[in-house]
């Protein structure tokens, strides 16, 4: 049964794939099973299921992965309202003459993934770029740790990341569009609260709906004590010292759609990815444990499962002539079009950086975090790794960070609290 039909029927992807793509035990001929650990001793068994950098990390740097059973209930792999909108609005999306995704009425997109079964690379990226986190509005409190190539944790930051969609809304009223804001794709801000040297630093990106145009960028920098408009086309720089994370890396699609080009699907097949079970309610702050690397702190403990079909899409930064990245390859889960991992190459074609994230529903036993009518689904942690220097930046979503910043989801108050210049000013000292 085709995937789209399987999902539309009851949200279970199992009918769309043969058994050997739904069970690691089947796939490996019984040599691996849920509960096993992938490590340097057995990673060769699953080399075909890993991107080249994760393979190298396991083979050479002491990274391990815990295997879990494949999740086939797609409602556990993305927010239910987004899934419902994807199914409800299937077939209503197209690109207009400018290359913007529009609905059949010619207006901005109306919610869910416009291209759940992408025919080409640009469709794969377009759907994801329209809605990074699959929520209409969300604030992620985060902590990030930057480690040097010898595994020393040198830097530690705390902050909050906020996203709000004024279009393609599936839960928040007014929907699908916020009147007066239809010409915007996204409001997004990033706020640092720790350490002292960056505390109060905040950036606000206002994305036009035009998929070619760069966002407007406003920054509150503590040294200036005021909000200033900032140039926005340099998106391949670390945001804070020691970090491997660039603006361009956000959700593996941090730049406007058409500032990258030459999109093409280069591969389809099964992969190992951390698409569920990433939430750690055992820790009061939802913090994750680490292992591996020279000092045992380089990698998050991560549980992965066999994803029956991933779509690998390559793209080149066509509007960034001096970007350090020559191309990137992103593996999307074909069932959800979520990015599973990203590998980028430098301009010489050498392996450069990689990102792999973990996701999950924030529900476990009798503990759960609600997002509207359903348990919250989101990313839980991310690795950002520079294979040329060996430096690692770990990022995790936590319950709360300094400044009282907590998870918020589907709340219009996020706009006033995080996504205006007044909001930036409020957070700055």
């Amino acid at each position: 049964m085709p995937l789209a039909r399987a999902l539309a029927k009851d949200g279970d992807s199992a009918r769309a794939y043969p058994d050997e793509l739904l069970s690691i035990e089947e796939w490996s001929g019984g040599r691996l099973k849920p509960g096993d650990e992938i490590n340097a001793g057995n990673v060769d068994l699953v080399e075909a299921l890993l991107d080249p950098i994760r393979y190298a990390q396991i083979k050479d740097m002491g990274r391990t992965l815990q295997l879990r059973a494949t999740t086939t209930d797609v409602s556990r792999l993305m927010p239910v309202p987004y899934l419902e909108a994807t199914l409800r609005n299937a077939g209503r999306a197209r690109f207009d003459a400018r290359g913007n995704v529009v609905s059949d009425d010619g207006g901005p997109w109306i919610g869910g993934n416009p291209f759940p079964d992408p025919r080409d690379g640009v469709e794969a990226f377009a759907g994801h770029t329209l809605s990074w986190g699959r929520h209409d509005a969300v604030v992620y409190p985060f902590k990030t740790y930057a480690l040097t190539g010898d595994g020393v944790p040198r830097y530690e930051y705390e902050g909050a990341w906020a996203e709000l969609s004024p279009v393609a809304r599936v839960v928040m009223e007014p929907r699908p569009h916020w009147p007066g804001h239809e010409n915007r794709l996204r409001y997004q801000s990033l706020l640092f609260v720790y350490p002292e040297s960056v505390s109060g630093t905040a950036y606000l990106n206002i994305w036009p709906y035009d998929h070619h145009a760069f966002p407007e960028l406003y920054g509150y920098l503590p040294q200036f004590r005021r909000i200033r408009k900032l140039p926005t086309d340099q998106r391949f720089e670390p945001l804070v010292p020691g970090s491997n994370l660039y603006l361009s890396d956000a959700w593996a699609a941090g730049d406007p759609l058409h500032t990258w080009g030459d999109y093409r699907i280069v591969w389809r097949g099964p992969v190992l990815a951390a698409v569920s079970g990433g939430w750690n309610p055992e820790h009061p702050d939802w913090a994750h444990a680490t292992h591996g690397g020279p000092r045992g702190q380089t990698f998050w403990d991560t549980a992965v499962e066999l994803v029956p079909e991933a779509i690998a899409v390559e793209a080149r930064p066509v509007k960034f002539p001096r970007a350090p990245v020559g191309k990137k390859c992103v593996w999307f889960d074909a069932r959800t079009m979520l990015p599973l991992s990203m590998v980028s190459y430098d301009r010489r074609g050498e392996l450069f950086r990689s990102f792999d994230g973990a996701y999950g529903v924030y529900a476990s036993g009798d503990r759960q975090v609600m997002a509207g009518d359903y348990p919250y689904w989101s990313w839980t942690h991310v690795h950002g790794f520079d294979i040329q220097s060996g430096s690692m930046t770990r990022l995790e979503q936590v319950r709360e960070v300094r400044g009282g910043h907590r998870l918020m989801v589907y709340d219009q108050a996020i706009y006033q609290r995080y996504l205006t210049e007044t909001a930036l000013q409020r957070h700055g000292l």
Partner: protein
């Protein structure tokens, strides 16, 4: 508002804060709950080494006339010289051998307390201890036999502004300072957010405008120049200098527009004290500060900023006191003379009542800290951008109804006449200090700003792509300036300042992150960046000032981070088109999450071309010289 009213308002705010805190405590369990508050801080050592073999020329130790023999020819106006002699200013005890401009140990902390979801108390404290005195020689009043000008204070006063502003008590309600320490709270306010409305009540900084360092729309608050003057790390602009004020500030987000209004207690700019390394007011001046007259006054203003088509526009209006104030001659402001005999150099003894009779009603008092010769008078006048002739004439004619005319002093038409008359004064009475008062006038300021982002989508590698250009202008009708002759009648003129800034990030190579670059230009019609009227520019020991038509300066600065941002290489240059150049190369290093090191050099050249006193850099150079600065910080 009277001081008592201020006290009541302050008490009310404290009570309100306490009430809100306690109500919050009831509203949520445990007001000491660690989830409610955050505390972080920094310890930092700042050191600046002077690279030139001189000291601040407006200080006693650095006066270029020390140990220098000067010929004097005393004469009354209209008569040929009668008295010829030579004099040598304060002697060998004042050899300028200090090479440490700054050695400050500072601690800062930030404390946030969440009273309720939309109400926070935000506090930032700062404590600074100046240690330069403990390691290097310094000026002592007794070294020159000065009895009163420094009030017998043997210490150099680095922080307490009362040293310069002698007749006032605590200048800022959120600061406590002494000779070598200061403790203050640059931020101490309640922050309340209700939907699109943000209100801050308490001591806070308010900064406006897109230009950096060129304070065009940034008109709200003065500067505190006691911590490394304006020569600190350029990349931080004035964050450590802007004087916080007790204020109420409301900001409202109306779609793409921000509407903002404030009312604040007036707090003046604080200049470095006499004989401190960055002082720029001749130490022979005794300043009678009249801040007490305006300390309870309210400044207020409003601003709107928003998007109109492809432009970001902003407009502001404020009614505020001139932060630096204006200076003018005043008779014996501190009462030094009236109770004391004044020395008469030509007589072997001090005559009773001479102080009260001659100097108490005048703007001068005999003291070795003052001026010793007519030549030095004109040198100092040129350096201070004053007119030595009119300054003399005004001190004769305008102070105490022409009191000095009783003693045959007369105004002079030219420099030679004035120099001879001054020589005669100094021959008769010895070196003379000057009494000036500092007043703060309120004025209206109107500003406009226009911003545009250049985009070259067809040429994404262009340096102009995403370049943000802003033009800002302020107009101040009837702005009050210090008269260049220190007249009791201030200058009043309409003033216009225009600035342009272009800034961009540009990646030169894939191997390094983008370089942030800024170009700025500023044009001022009537005064320089320090508020000195341009008609006082161009004078020296042999010439009265001819003035300059306008003040024009350009800035280029860049920041180039390393690929990991662990290192950052900064450069800033300010060129005054009249011949001054300030260069500041800098490096910033953050090796770990806790440590940060900054190093930078200030290269100051005020003699590139033209007259040295026609640019502003020479004033900075005279004060600090070239210097090398280090900052080592530990944050927690």
């Amino acid at each position: 508002m009277t001081r008592r009213q201020w006290q009541r308002v302050s008490a009310g705010l404290v009570a309100l804060a306490a009430g809100v805190l306690s109500s919050g405590a009831h509203a949520q369990a445990g007001w000491l709950d660690p989830a409610r508050w955050d505390l972080s801080g920094t310890l930092r050592m700042d050191t600046a080494f002077r690279l030139s073999n001189s000291e601040n020329t407006v200080n006693e130790r650095g006066n270029p006339y020390n140990n220098k023999e000067v010929q004097r020819a005393g004469a009354l106006p209209g008569l040929p010289p009668l008295l010829f002699d030579s004099t040598t200013r304060n002697g060998p005890d004042l050899t300028p051998d200090n090479h440490l401009n700054l050695a400050q140990l500072r601690g800062e902390f930030s404390f946030d307390y969440r009273v309720m979801r939309n109400l926070e108390l935000r506090v930032r404290g700062r404590a600074v201890h100046e240690r330069a005195d403990m390691m290097f020689s310094k000026f002592r009043a007794s070294q020159i036999g000065s009895e009163r000008i420094y009030e017998s204070n043997e210490k150099v006063v680095y922080f307490a502004p009362e040293s310069n502003m002698r007749n006032i008590s605590r200048w800022h309600p959120f600061e406590w300072s002494g000779n070598d320490y200061m403790v203050d709270f640059p931020a101490f306010y309640l922050n309340w957010q209700q939907g699109p409305l943000n209100v801050r009540v308490g001591n806070q900084q308010i900064a406006w405008g897109q230009l950096i360092f060129f304070r065009i729309l940034d008109q709200v608050q003065g500067l505190d120049l006691r911590r490394h003057s304006a020569l600190d790390f350029a990349g931080e602009e004035f964050s450590d200098k802007r004087v916080s004020t007790p204020a109420i500030r409301a900001t409202y987000q109306l779609g793409p527009w921000i509407l903002e209004a404030f009312g604040q207690k007036f707090q003046p700019t604080i200049i470095p004290n006499a004989n401190t390394p960055y002082n720029f007011l001749f130490s022979g001046f005794s300043v009678h500060n009249n801040y007490d007259d305006v300390r309870d006054k309210i400044d207020y203003g409003a601003r709107a900023r928003g998007v109109l088509g492809p432009f970001v526009i902003q407009a502001m209006a404020a009614r505020r006191h001139e932060h630096l104030g204006q200076f003018r001659w005043v008779p014996d402001g501190h009462g030094f003379a009236k109770n004391a005999p004044a020395p008469i150099d030509l007589l072997p003894i001090d005559l009773p009542l001479t102080g009260a009779l001659i100097f108490a009603p005048s703007a001068h008092y005999p003291d070795p800290a003052g001026v010793w010769s007519g030549e030095e008078w004109f040198y100092q006048a040129g350096a201070a951008r004053l007119n030595g002739v009119t300054a003399l004439n005004n001190s004769i004619d305008q102070v105490s109804d022409g009191h000095l005319r009783t003693f045959l002093a007369r105004p002079c038409p030219d420099l030679q006449c004035a120099q001879r008359e001054l020589d005669l004064f100094f021959q008769l009475f010895g070196p003379l200090t000057g009494n000036i008062e500092q007043n703060y006038h309120q004025g209206n300021v109107f500003g406009l700003g226009l911003g545009y982002t250049i985009e070259t989508p067809s040429r994404p590698a262009s340096i102009f792509n995403q370049m943000i250009v802003n033009v800002e202008a302020v107009y101040e009708p009837n702005r009050v300036f210090t008269d260049t002759g220190l007249s009791v009648n201030y200058l009043k003129e309409d003033d216009l300042t225009i600035g342009v800034v272009a800034e961009t990030w540009h990646r030169w190579t894939p191997a390094f992150p983008g370089m942030y670059m800024v170009w700025q230009y500023m044009h001022r019609r009537k005064g320089d960046m320090f508020g000195r009227h341009l008609s006082g520019f161009g004078g020296d020991k042999n010439n009265v000032p001819t003035g300059i038509d306008s003040f024009n300066a350009v800035v280029f600065a860049f920041q180039q981070p390393s690929p990991s941002l662990v290192w950052r290489f900064d450069f800033a240059a300010l060129y005054d088109i009249k011949g001054g150049l300030l260069l500041q190369p800098a490096v910033k290093w953050e090796p770990t999450k806790n440590w940060r090191v900054d190093a930078f050099v200030n290269f100051l050249e005020g003699s590139l071309h033209g007259k040295r006193t026609e640019n502003i850099v020479s004033s900075l150079q005279d004060a600090s010289g070239h210097e090398l600065s280090f900052r080592i910080a530990y944050q927690f």
